[in-house]
Symmetry: none
Subunit: 422 residues, 2 copies
């Protein structure tokens, strides 16, 4: 079955709020196996909303409309939907009673316009609102179900969970299950070439790669009669992807992050880490600490933004800075050594680079050195990033995490880590 989502609200059209309701509803629909081809936003305007509801009735089985059920004059969603399907509004005694109780409990007087919320299209199913005054509604018109939900997320989400989900589960046969693989250290175009044969439309499961924050994600989505069968369909495809893309895959679940993967790898190997950051100035440490449990491995870090601080805090030699500059492999090597000597951390990650906007020391904007040292062995890599200052700093941070990950894996697998490099 197909569903579509319509959000009503001028504040969304003006960009004053981000439309998180659409994301919530879309996610819930996908989890229920409903195919969602359209999301739309319109303002509180009768003609435009009416046109959109008519359009949606011609192309979707289920229409979820949120917002515009409140007590004020410009809340017109219910009235417009009633008009679209040719139904009159009548007073719903139960809803009137709930509104009365809601205000009694709050101890405040009921403004007259609240009674508008107890009017419902003849024959509509009423969905109780446990967190507010406006009830939700389900209006059937032929084979189409139109579901009206209040706009405030706390009211909408609770009502969806309690009333809409059971209703939709009865309507639907079958579910959708999807699994996300996350990759780093590889371009989207390379991933696409490697797995092009698995991406054909109409496959079940479908395979779709997309670029995200300098990483690549691959989503595998299966349809089946129940979750177990859908998972079973995904399994061989995920296995095939793993065999083709190997260590570039750092996570196999949507909620996993690169910093989480790195942190868990460090914890699993009982390694402590220290950062020595120039161009990233704390971003690497901050991302690692964003993961709960970071205190098991992240102990300390240095922001050595000036040359003086590189010398004073990390014992980088004055001659090195003069001869090679701060943005150089040599300086990063001494930053690694200095931080390791001072903190006795097992792993040190260090960055130095030119973020711009203007080049300095004759080094081009975007030139970055990232170094990783594990138990005395080190690797330093050169990078050239495009973009403006903070894009370069973010790319440096992400690539530092990727380098950390690959160095730890290499150190523990083949023990060749850093050998040719020292």
């Amino acid at each position: 079955m197909t569903a579509e989502i319509i959000c009503v609200g001028t504040e969304i059209l003006l960009g004053n709020i981000v439309n998180t309701n659409a994301a919530y509803l879309a996610n819930q629909c996908a989890a229920l196996g409903l195919t969602c081809f359209y999301q739309s936003v319109v303002g509180d305007n009768e003609k435009r909303l009416l046109d959109l509801v008519h359009l949606a009735m011609g192309r979707s089985d289920i229409i979820i409309i949120c917002g515009g059920l409140g007590p004020t004059q410009d809340d017109i969603t219910k009235e417009t939907v009633a008009k679209a399907v040719g139904l009159d509004l009548v007073l719903d005694e139960n809803s009137a009673q709930r509104i009365r109780e809601y205000f009694e409990k709050k101890g405040t007087k009921i403004a007259e316009n609240n009674w508008k919320q107890a009017m419902i299209p003849v024959g509509a199913m009423v969905l109780n609102n446990d967190n507010g005054t406006a009830p939700g509604l389900i209006v059937k018109h032929g084979d189409v179900s139109i579901i009206l939900l209040p706009g405030p997320p706390i009211e909408l989400e609770h009502m969806f969970e309690e009333s809409v989900k059971p209703y939709l589960m009865k309507l639907e046969n079958g579910v959708i299950y999807s699994q996300t693989l996350k990759l780093c250290g590889i371009a989207e175009s390379t991933v696409d070439e490697t797995i092009a044969d698995l991406e054909s439309e109409g496959n079940n499961p479908t395979v779709a790669p997309y670029a995200k924050h300098g990483e690549v994600h691959i989503r595998v989505t299966a349809k089946a009669e129940d979750e177990k069968a859908a998972k079973k369909l995904c399994k061989p495809v995920v296995r095939e992807l793993k065999s083709r893309l190997g260590q570039n895959i750092y996570a196999t679940h949507e909620q996993d992050t690169l910093e989480g993967a790195v942190l868990n790898l460090l914890i699993a190997n009982h390694l402590t880490i220290c950062s020595a950051e120039s161009i990233t100035a704390g971003m690497i440490a901050a991302r690692l600490v964003s993961v709960p449990g970071a205190s098991e491995t992240v102990k300390s870090g240095f922001v050595t933004y000036s040359n003086k601080s590189k010398r004073k805090l990390l014992q980088v030699k004055k001659s090195t800075l003069e001869k090679h500059g701060a943005v150089s492999e040599e300086t990063v090597r001494e930053m690694l050594k200095g931080a390791a000597a001072l903190t006795k951390a097992d792993v040190v990650i260090a960055t130095s680079g030119e973020a711009g906007p203007e080049p300095s020391e004759n080094k081009p904007v975007g030139l970055v050195y990232i170094g990783c040292m594990i138990c005395g062995q080190m690797v330093v890599k050169e990078y050239n990033f495009n973009g403006e200052r903070n894009k370069i700093r973010e790319m440096t941070t992400t690539n530092a995490l990727m380098l950390l990950r690959s160095c730890v894996l290499e150190y523990y697998s083949e023990k060749t880590f850093g050998k040719q490099d020292n």
Copy 2:
């Protein structure tokens, strides 16, 4: 003129990502005085996208479409729009050259499918992408402008700012000029009460406050025949706002940031700064360094996440940590003193707090101490933040910047800073 926004992407329809691009574009359109009646989302499907583009061409003057410009097979936005307006695709040599340079600079091989991105509808205007490979496009069809932008926010926002905004400003007759005042250290409701008389609808300029990331912004928007006239209308209102809200205003332009305001204040007073961060673990230093010119004032910083690193790097006393805990005013005072003694920085900012998810040391999640020391005088404040781990860390960072700003202002104005506190 009317605009509408179409976002293309299966990941939005599946609810895997929140559609922040729509909010960004809507906000920008509103600021330019464009009336936006519709936002839509469709997947990477030719028929449905084609239908939607046709529908939009019949009802809006400007259609902004984002997403689906990348190199992979399922990126079909450009091809579909070309079909909708009946144009062939031809190779754009400039775009091909930019793609070549992009990969050369990165030092990676160009996968064959990347050249697809250099194909453009005949006669289309090309918008350079400074942060990625897919160029943007503007296709004129009769009176309708169709604007195609890449999906990644960092590429889209930069391209909008650099190329789309100037294009739209030329299209619009009469201009809208809007100026944003940014405030910190004051609640939205207090701002609202203070300026309620200026907020009446129908005024020119309009005055609208809104809360954003723990700050309050006020947008003053005037309509006039040209920018000069619109600016003239804004001027007395901005002056009035400044006189009512005084030092809580840290910036008077949309592009100004809190970290930029703090950095400029430090530079103007020839102060160097050092950070000593526990709960924020580098976030304060990273935000300060995000501003070009940071090297004039940010010299060094410490991430002292473990108790051992607080003792070893900043000389916090073992007895202080045992008696008061790491999350305490006393520990933050010693972090300030330790960092100042070591680096001789004029200003030190320090944080320690409980980010959760679980409380430790019997301190509740959300309890945070932030300290600021200027030339030997110090202030430490206690905060209690709500929300999950990284919300607490972000609130701490923002409040540390606010504290920095108010401490420097106080230090140089009345010289009462830190007096009652030491």
